[in-house]
Amino acid sequence: MNIAVCVKQIPDPATPGELNPDTHTLKREGKLILDESDSYGVEMALQLAEAAGGGEVTLVSMAPNNEVSGLRTALAMGAAKAVLISDDALQGSDSLSTAKVLAKAVERVGGIDLVLTATESTDGYSGTVPEQIAELLGWPSLTFAKHIEIADGKATIQRQTEAGYDVVEASLPAVVSVTAGVVEPRYPSFKGIMAAKNKPVDEVKVADLGLSAEQVGWAGARQKIVDVRAAPAREAGEKIEDEGDAHEKIVAFLEQLKVI
């Protein structure tokens, strides 16, 4: 079974984000890392391919400046190869443009049975890309999976719901978005890290995918940021050190709020 995993390379979420003052887009110039949300999809793909008795796991990623650091992490986990779409024309791309690029990249890989994605990225988190990729490919999508099984040409998932979960199935090829915590991602081994350096990364431009510059980036996004401002700050209140009686303060506070 051949699986494509959509992965995003993002600025380290531990460092404060910044907007580019001219474009109001997130600054993504520095070193990028593999979005932790995507490590679950990569791990899931590796496990599913192994359980199916073989097949290749291919990464698909869109990033500025031919950035590969995050891809190398996922390749070190065990993915076989990657397609990287990097093009100045992609700056300002919204979720739909991103989905167009990723769907075309999946088609470029060819012979894919299953596309795995996270439910949303950590930095942009628009939250619609998986369904958009599926619709562009004309495939079913099984979203918000917290468990996946593949058998007899079908994917069956436990789909997170407000009330619990639904068991949902669809025939392959399909797109499945996985929630964080669905599996425990492996740490890349030293051998894996060394091997990753030589794994193939197919670097492509927008035009190579048969898309025009008008369909992606600022032109494709068809939206304009009209204002950016600081939110009203929330004031901190009282801070105490627990000396064995902090619970009494909390009880008193809850009483004052008439919660108890």
Partner: protein
């Protein structure tokens, strides 16, 4: 200035409209001359009263049978829009809302603005407000290009208020062809028992983070305290990623927004990812070992201490309080 026609993608919570749907209707009737709903499910008639009471005049309804709701939602909306396009279609940023919106945006080739926390109209253009960087920065984005505009709004962004309107007229839609997407079928539904209120609607929310130490500590610390305070239990992203609790409990940017009367953060450091989902709470109580943790910058009462010491005593005190 307003918009002439706004549609709301309605969702149900049992036999009632979801609160997030009523929130959207309340805002839609403020911004639009006419407000209609599109609903996927079997029980539109049961919802028509409450939808009308919140401002919808019509409910376009389609029964999805066992097909994943958002798939039919996207296809039904596309078909309706072909005949009679509104200015704006609003979705709640929910599981099914995101499915329907993603599908529809491709069918219409229109961008979707998501994660909205505010909505206004400038001239004849809707403007969607979002909160980024842990809610420290607000960004307003205006649609360009052709109508209809598509937007998803995070639940709890607006208050739901009835307008006293008459029941909405239910208009049944014919079956739609969603292609291979309709192969996604729901085989079983599992309802997990929940004591107490829903996370997004609870007056008290108790959330746990990495500081609780282990998955096993969640029940006796977080859930027990939530139960005693008749609240709901939530979680930081760190412990959802670790697989300790399901994604549905996650509070924050990639999870839910909550605005309870009291929010208790147990062992949560307060990454920006988390703060954006809870800093709108009326009152925040935080317990954390690290006195420098960012959670204290938003806490009304901050306790620098060990949750494993403070919380069991708090639970005992609340039990004694009765």
């Amino acid at each position: 200035m307003g918009l002439s026609k706004i549609w709301v993608y309605a969702e149900a919570d049992g036999d009632k409209p979801a609160t997030s749907t009523l929130e959207l209707l309340t805002k839609a009737r403020e911004l639009g001359d006419s407000v209609e709903c599109v609903f996927v499910g079997a029980n539109a008639a049961a919802l028509a009263g409450a939808l009308g009471e919140h401002g919808a005049t019509k409910v376009h309804a389609i029964d999805n049978g066992d097909v994943l709701a958002g798939v039919i939602g996207g296809a039904a909306l596309a078909k309706l829009i072909e005949a009679d396009a509104p200015d704006l279609v609003l979705f709640a940023q929910t599981y099914d809302g995101r499915d329907a919106l993603g599908r529809l945006s491709v069918k219409l080739d229109r961008p979707a603005l998501t994660n909205g926390v505010a909505l206004l109209v400038e001239g004849d253009k809707p403007v969607v407000g979002t909160a980024i960087f842990g809610g420290n920065t607000l960004v307003d984005t205006e649609f360009e290009g052709e109508k209809p505009y598509l937007a998803a709004i995070r639940p709890k962004s607006f208050a739901a208020e009835p307008s006293g309107g008459a029941a909405a007229e239910v208009v049944a839609l014919d079956a739609v062809d969603a292609g291979r997407a309709a192969e996604a079928k729901v085989l079983e539904r599992h309802v997990e028992e929940r004591e107490g209120p829903k996370l997004e609607e609870a007056p008290v929310v108790v959330s746990g983070g990495r500081g609780i130490g282990s998955a096993e500590a969640y029940e006796p610390l977080v859930e027990e305290l939530a139960k005693l305070l008749k609240g709901a239990s939530g979680a930081s992203r760190a412990i959802v990623d670790a697989g300790w609790v399901p994604y549905a409990k996650q509070v924050g940017q990639t999870g839910k927004t909550v605005k309870p009367k009291v929010y208790l953060a147990l062992g949560i450091s307060g990454a920006t990812q988390h703060l954006v989902g809870m800093k709108g709470s009326d009152n925040i109580i935080a317990i954390n070992k690290d006195g420098e943790a960012p959670i204290f910058s938003v806490a009304d009462l901050g306790v620098v201490g060990d949750v494993h010491k403070v919380v069991p005593k708090l639970i005992e005190a609340l039990k004694a309080h009765g």
